[in-house]
């Protein structure tokens, strides 16, 4: 099967490493919220000062913005835009691409300087690239993770839920 079609399995021990990295980034910058997304917009994990209800939609929109900027880059014959900065009245968002697969996003307020965010995000991006590389290298077989009867159970759930 085309490797692009298979799922990406992020093991529990790597999630722990990612979470530590995000916590460190939030603490060192004084950022309010840090998210790691897959480029398809799915939230891998998030760390922050408060539980946000809108995290799923936030992930979809940020990934959409990044994918859109990639197309702008192509039109400008740029390779890609690795970073995006959005400035708000209360909060700012800094987004950085990890390889071509993950997106690191930090939300911070006026108390944090953008320069500090840029420097520390670069360090976090380098660390997370190493994690991504390990995740890519150590893909387990799906059945080892989900169990062989997962598909049947899933189909039953789909039949039950998706109906008029």
């Amino acid at each position: 099967m085309d490797p692009q079609l298979t799922s990406q399995i992020v093991p529990a021990e790597e999630i722990k490493v990612i979470e530590e990295c995000l916590v460190r980034l939030a603490e060192d910058t004084g950022g309010n919220y840090v998210l790691l997304l897959d480029k398809s917009g799915q939230v891998i994990t998030a760390q922050g000062d408060a539980a946000r209800q809108d995290i799923t939609a936030l992930g979809a929109l940020i990934a959409g913005t990044f994918a859109s900027s990639r197309e702008v880059a192509k039109l400008l014959r740029e390779k890609d835009f690795r970073q995006l900065f959005t400035q708000g009245v209360r909060e700012n968002i800094f987004i950085s691409l990890i390889e071509d697969q993950w997106i690191l996003c930090i939300i911070f307020n006026k108390g944090t300087h953008i320069g500090l965010v840029k420097v520390l995000t670069k360090k976090a991006t380098d660390d997370l690239s190493v994690v991504l590389e390990r995740v890519r290298e150590h893909q387990k077989a799906r059945d080892d993770v989900l169990g062989s009867s997962f598909r049947t159970s899933m189909e039953d759930t789909i039949d039950l839920l998706f109906r008029d």
Binding site: M1, D2, Q4, L5, T6, S7, Q8, I9, V10, P11, A12, I15, K16, D38, K39, S40, G41, Q42, V43, I44, T45, T56, A57, A60, L61, A63, G64, A67, S68, R70, E71, K74, L75, R142, V145, L146, G147, S149, F150, R151, S153, M154, E155, T157, I158, D159, L161, F162, R163, D164
Partner: protein, 191 residues
């Protein structure tokens, strides 16, 4: 690419509704949103123009609950169908696990359907995925319109790869869940 988070025991899959402008992609999501139980859905997010045409995408997260201990989520997206938004469609397609191609059954829309399907093939291939193997389900929408093209004709021009296909009238929900079930199962089979 579907994401399996072993620590949080979560699975996320992305399904994109693709097709020419006004073929009924947003109507599909609106109907699904109106019917799925409250605890299984998030807000339907639409980035549209003032005239309610999709500008960037619609987004509907569905939570199927725990399946064999894994919280399973499907994220449904639509693309903007109008020709000028070709690059936006590429952006929304990024990382998709499966596509529903919503075709408009009206006779004068056949050429637009064909062009849109060709564009989809190019965009999937550009993501380094084999179009022939990519999970796709066809929906022939607007079957209620007088003079809708016969299914055999649509098959001849659009379904050369023998995908599963469903007749639909998305505005009243006919065929919407059959399509969603088919693409969901197809995506799960490829996990």
């Amino acid at each position: 690419m579907a994401l399996i988070n072993v620590a949080a025991r979560e699975i996320h899959c992305k399904i994109v509704y693709y097709g020419p402008g006004m073929s009924g992609k947003t109507s599909n999501l609106q109907y699904i949103h109106s019917q799925v139980p409250k605890e299984a859905k998030g807000e339907l997010l639409s980035i549209a123009t003032e005239t309610e045409r999709t500008l960037f995408f619609d987004f509907l997260p569905l939570d199927l609950g725990k399946v064999r201990g894994f919280q399973t989520r499907f994220h449904l997206y639509t693309v903007p169908g109008q020709v000028l938004y070709e690059r936006t469609r590429v952006a929304v397609l990024s990382g998709a696990d499966g596509v529903v191609f919503v075709a408009d059954s009206q006779k004068h829309k056949l050429e637009e359907n064909i062009r849109s399907l060709r564009e989809l093939a190019i965009n999937i291939t550009r993501q380094n995925k084999r179009f022939q193997d990519f999970p796709i389900v066809l929906q022939y929408n607007k079957r209620d319109v007088p003079g809708a093209l016969p299914v055999a004709t649509l098959d001849k021009y659009l379904n050369t790869l023998g995908w599963q296909r469903f007749e639909a009238t998305a505005t009243i929900g006919a065929g919407v869940f059959d399509t969603l079930k088919a693409i969901s199962k197809l995506v799960i089979s490829k996990l």
